[in-house]
Amino acid sequence: MSALLSCHNLVMRFRGLTALDDLELDIRHGEILGLLGPNGSGKTTFFNVVTGVYRASAGRIEYESQDISKSSPQAVYRAGIARTFQRSRLCLPLTIFDNIMIGNHRRLNHGLWFNVVCRKQLRRQYEACWDEARELLMTFNKALGTRLLNAAGSVSMIDRRRIEVCRALVSRPKLLLLDEPSAGMTHEETNELMDDILIIRARMPELTIVIIEHGMSVIERITNRCVVLNYGRKLCEGTYREIALNAEVQQAYLGKS
């Protein structure tokens, strides 16, 4: 499997704090990669740098043989990279449908003339999107299918996370970055979420997923490969089994043994 995205010597500094320290990381085509590490090891920062929210202090990020280290978040999205956020970032006052559609920017027509004047065509696009959004959402929670026009703030925290995943998936990205999607969920809900993600993946076989998680059973079940970060550097990589047995990893998580 070749590398879909690779970063070399990636450094991210915030006024004296080095969050990413010469990071070397590869993400291979079609894999599900688990990104692990204790709190503060740079996982979310890595996502933020890749998606252009932060500009890297130094280093290179190559995606499909293009250098995206200086790309804007919009350009990164257009290249086919979508994400969820660690702290849920939905537009709570808007409807669930709107929230999902915000993720679909790439595939919508947003010209002023089209939107204000060509209402019939807009309506056709709207209805096609409605069907898509509904189907996608119902994969994760059947009950939400009738509530597309409710405010996103009116549903539970768990459902909001599901909506966020839908928002990231609706544009049919090539690379999906999930930042602790199961935070706050019970074991059953987490398993359900992972099952649903695998269902989606089955429909989009070229989809590459990177998932930041803390639940080890999840990681073991769903990932092909794991990378462990510590203090902004790669500590080790391999299958879950391999990294779980690694002494340095144990020390990083549990302290000196």
Partner: protein, 388 residues
């Protein structure tokens, strides 16, 4: 008392519109100060009762549920009020002013209510349109409808000049720039004489396809007020701008505006051109204000810096906050309340800015969504997908 689960029929909303129309008509017609005070008190009490018993909310739901019908009802109500007041110069002038301010507030809604771009210089853009009308009307032979458009364009250009530089920064910078502009616009115009200085300029009245609006229509042996003409024209313009704004809201663009307002960072990671959207909203809003200002100048025949100062900008903001931020329908009653009441009730005229400030403060503390909170977006409310 009012059932919350059944979808209401249109009657409560129609009753509500008629009540408001009658109230406005009386308010505009009566000159006796005591009569006005009684009317205002009655209106206030009626509103309180309606709010407490849930009748107001019920009527509002009915209104939203039967939109196309209600569009027609409101237009008929307006035309009726205009017809009844057909010979009252002052009343029609106020009515037309309310409509023109409402158009500017529609623009402000797009900027602030949808996209979250702060604009404390709304009156300055309104005035820019007016001055455009003055200059173009007096010095060129451009057809007046084009002049109205030009007023919008000038206001739009002026706005982009202002905002483009500071878009990459946080929201309060836009606030600062527009506040400064709002204050300086007036002093800038007063200080130099190219645009008439403090005395201002005269503006030729509007003529559309040969129909000179400055002359009152003659029906039988009665001559109507010439403000009747302007009231109809402003109503027409208001309908158009309202329709455009509503379509804008119920589209992907409106949705993107909201996304930018609520969470810029997330919006950018999903490809939204945050800068571009803010500029678009700002320009659209100012174009509306400029067009309204051009018509206003032509109607009053005169334009001077005093009408377009910072206080007027704040009045515009007060209107959209009171009416309900982002709710287009709320603008009309709010504008009527804010503009008509102090004009007619001499006793509060002097205190009106204090009252506006107080009202907005109360709204912000206790009902920040405004009197008529904005509803959730339904792109095509009448033709909801049957699979829903």
């Amino acid at each position: 008392m009012f059932s919350a689960d059944k979808s209401p029929g249109p009657l409560p909303a129609v009753v509500g519109v008629i009540a408001i129309a009658v109230f406005a008509m009386l308010l505009l017609r009566i000159h006796d100060q005591w009569g006005l005070l009684v009317l205002a008190a009655v209106g206030g009490i009626a509103l309180l009762v309606a709010a407490r018993t849930g009748a107001a909310a019920y009527a509002e739901r009915a209104f939203a549920a039967h939109e196309p019908l209600m569009n027609g009802v409101v237009i008929i109500a307006f035309v009726s009020v205009i017809a009844v007041l057909a010979r009252q110069d002052f009343s029609l002038l106020i009515l037309a002013t309310v409509l023109l301010y409402s158009i500017a507030c529609l623009g402000l809604s797009v900027q602030l209510g949808y996209c979250g771009v702060m604009n404390f210089a709304g009156a300055a853009f309104f005035g820019a349109g007016g001055y455009t009308a003055a200059v173009l009307g007096a010095h060129t032979g451009l057809p007046h409808l084009l002049i109205v458009l030009a007023g919008g364009v000038v206001a739009g250009l002026l706005g982009s000049l202002l905002l483009l530089p500071v878009l990459r920064t946080r929201g309060h910078y836009a606030a600062l720039i527009t506040v400064a502009f709002g204050i300086l616009f007036r002093s800038f115009l007063e200080v130099n004489n190219t645009l008439g200085g403090p005395q201002g300029l005269t503006v030729p009245g509007m003529t559309i396809f040969g129909w000179s609006l400055g002359k009152g229509l003659v029906i039988g042996d009665t001559t109507l007020s010439f403000y009747f003409n302007y009231a109809l024209v402003t109503l027409g313009l208001a309908i158009v701008v309202f329709g455009v704004t509503r379509r804008l809201e119920r589209s992907w663009v409106g949705m993107h505006f909201d996304a930018v307002r609520i969470d810029e960072v997330a919006a950018s990671t999903f490809g939204l051109n945050v800068q571009g959207l803010k500029i678009m909203a700002f320009v659209i809003g100012n174009v509306f204000a400029g067009m309204a200002g051009a018509v206003f100048a032509m109607m009053t025949g005169f334009i001077s810096p005093t009408d377009f100062d910072f206080s007027t900008s704040l009045v515009l903001i007060a209107i959209i906050m009171l009416g309900g931020l982002g709710n287009l329908w709320g603008i009309l009653p709010a504008a009527a309340f804010v503009l008509i009441l102090p004009e007619k009730l001499q006793v509060i005229q002097e205190y009106r800015f204090l009252l506006y400030a107080g009202a907005v403060i109360l709204v912000l503390l206790f009902r920040p969504a405004g009197l008529f909170p904005r509803r959730l977006r339904r792109h095509f409310p009448l033709k909801a997908p049957s699979r829903a």
